[in-house]
């Protein structure tokens, strides 16, 4: 079958691009990371056939087109889209003039949030992190990494950040969320370690969200299809922003930064209006919130752009971003997933100077890249 020619998406754009959301796929999963774990754990996983498991989602949440990955992003040598770092560099970075791509491994995230037991997740998390450092970051210096943490154990998570967090290409901590709001003190050891290492916390849906008990759930009930579930995944982002601010996380960790990746962002404006109004009315219940929630969010929280919503009138999107302020957003592709956005086709209605902030400056000021 002839495939259509890919758009040369960023050609003609003069500005630089940081892509905040790229998904490496570890071919052969757990089996590939056996060399990075103690032998006893390897034997355990072999004996329970963990190395051949697909960890499939229930039928109703499988992608209606059969694959969440772009079929045109499969490496020429075969394998799953996103599984060959050399091809990813060529297909994503060089095609789109991307200077830095932040890798976030969802296999690790799903194991840590839900699919593995607590002790298993600690071992697997370190093994996947070490595999990616060893076999991906060495391929190209433009590849940066949001290292994962075994979030079922916050103390072990903090230890993992301190073990690995000094690597120069590690630019963030990818935190697989549980069904515990982000302001909860459960998370504070992780925030302390991340702040100490000057790494932002990156949160992203890990896969089992709204499917299994463990990660965040959609509000109001269980979705009935992939489409329903997809649309509601942003709800955890909204709840988390609210929780972070009113629980006083940014008073406790005054240098902490958080980036919400792939949760959308247009919901932020009405959320902030409501948070601000309610704080002005009932501030005395949370007196550690010493200034308007709007100020905390603008100082500490950023949002990735993909998947960019598409109002019927595209200018409505430009207007809403103007209302939000241009400092809140960081560009992301979500390569190689089906719903990715490429830089050349994204946010073209914004003024050039503001577009540069979203494609470069804001991420540079968020991730540990300087």
């Amino acid at each position: 079958m002839d495939m259509p020619e890919k758009p040369k998406s960023n050609q003609g754009d003069a500005f630089k691009v940081i892509d905040c959301d790229v998904h490496p796929y570890v071919k052969d999963g757990i089996k590939s990371v056996f060399p990075y774990m103690p032998d006893a754990w390897k034997q355990r996983f072999i004996r329970k056939n963990a190395h051949v498991g697909s960890h499939a989602r229930p039928l109703k949440y499988e992608h209606p087109n059969g694959n969440v990955n772009r079929v045109d992003a499969r490496p020429p040598c075969g394998g799953v889209s996103g599984s060959d770092p050399h091809f990813l560099v060529k297909d994503l970075l060089e095609q789109n003039k991307i200077q830095h791509a932040v890798l976030n491994c969802l296999q690790t995230g799903a194991l840590c949030s839900t699919l593995a037991g607590t002790d298993e997740s600690i071992v697997l998390c370190s093994a996947f992190n070490d595999f990616l450092v060893d076999q991906w970051l060495t391929v190209d210096n433009r590849l940066k990494f949001a290292m994962s943490v075994p979030s079922q154990d916050p103390v072990a998570s903090a230890a993992e950040i301190r073990r690995l967090g000094k690597h120069p290409q590690i630019v963030a901590v990818s935190l697989p969320l549980l069904n515990i709001l982000m302001g909860n003190r459960y998370w504070w050891p992780i925030y302390a370690a991340a702040e100490e290492m000057q790494l932002p916390i990156l949160v992203h849906v890990t896969g089992p969200d709204s499917v299994y008990y463990g990660p965040p759930m959609s509000s109001g009930g269980i979705p009935d299809s992939y489409v329903e579930r997809y649309v509601t995944l942003c709800q955890a982002g909204e709840s988390s922003v609210n929780s972070l601010v009113f629980s006083g996380v940014f008073e406790k960790f005054q240098n902490l930064k958080v980036i919400f990746v792939e949760y959308g962002f247009l919901w932020l404006l009405p959320l902030l209006w409501r948070m601000d109004r309610t704080w002005r009315q009932l501030r005395h219940e949370v007196p550690w919130v010493k200034k308007s929630p709007v100020e905390y969010v603008h100082k500490h929280i950023r949002f990735s752009t993909q998947p960019i919503d598409e109002p019927q009138n595209p200018k409505d999107l430009d207007k809403l971003i103007e209302l939000m302020g241009y400092d809140q957003l960081c560009f992301s592709t979500d390569y190689p997933h089906w719903d990715n956005d490429m830089p050349g086709q994204s946010l073209r209605g914004l003024p050039k100077s503001e577009r540069e902030k979203i494609f470069w400056d804001n991420a540079l000021n968020t991730f540990r890249m300087k």
Binding site: S247, Q281, K290
Partner: protein, 122 residues
């Protein structure tokens, strides 16, 4: 057009219990008279600058001062008027919302004590 200020006696000191807002009517305008703990008086227009609520039907209280996470520090007892509708807290010394920059504030009138009389300049 400038309006002339006039002094209106609204009652005796003993008519206004400490820590309460007592509403009086001056030429058709509802004014809340409050005696603070330190013996000072305040006269407040019974109109919340937020959404027009009868603010003087709220209550006078203290509030939680800004503090560390998880810590409550109660203070300013008797200096804060709390609106009965949306809970906005107003400082009875300045008329401003507490700990917030807001252009909207309570409309307050000067009060003097002459002998035992409470006199509002309105």
């Amino acid at each position: 057009m400038s309006k002339e200020i006039k002094n209106v006696t609204v009652g005796k000191i003993s008519d206004f219990p400490v820590g309460k807002c007592t509403i009086v009517n001056i030429d058709g305008r509802e004014i809340g008279i409050a005696q603070l703990k330190n013996g000072e008086f305040r006269a407040v227009r019974n109109h919340c600058p937020h959404k027009g609520a009868p603010v003087c039907k709220g209550f006078i209280a203290g509030t939680m001062l800004p503090g560390d996470v998880g810590e409550l520090i109660f203070g300013r007892d008797g200096e804060i008027l709390v609106c009965p509708w949306h809970g906005y807290e107003f400082d009875l010394n300045s008329g401003q919302q507490v700990y917030q920059e807001s252009p909207a504030k309570l409309l307050m009138f000067p009060v003097t004590i002459k002998n035992d009389d409470v006199v509002v300049a309105i």
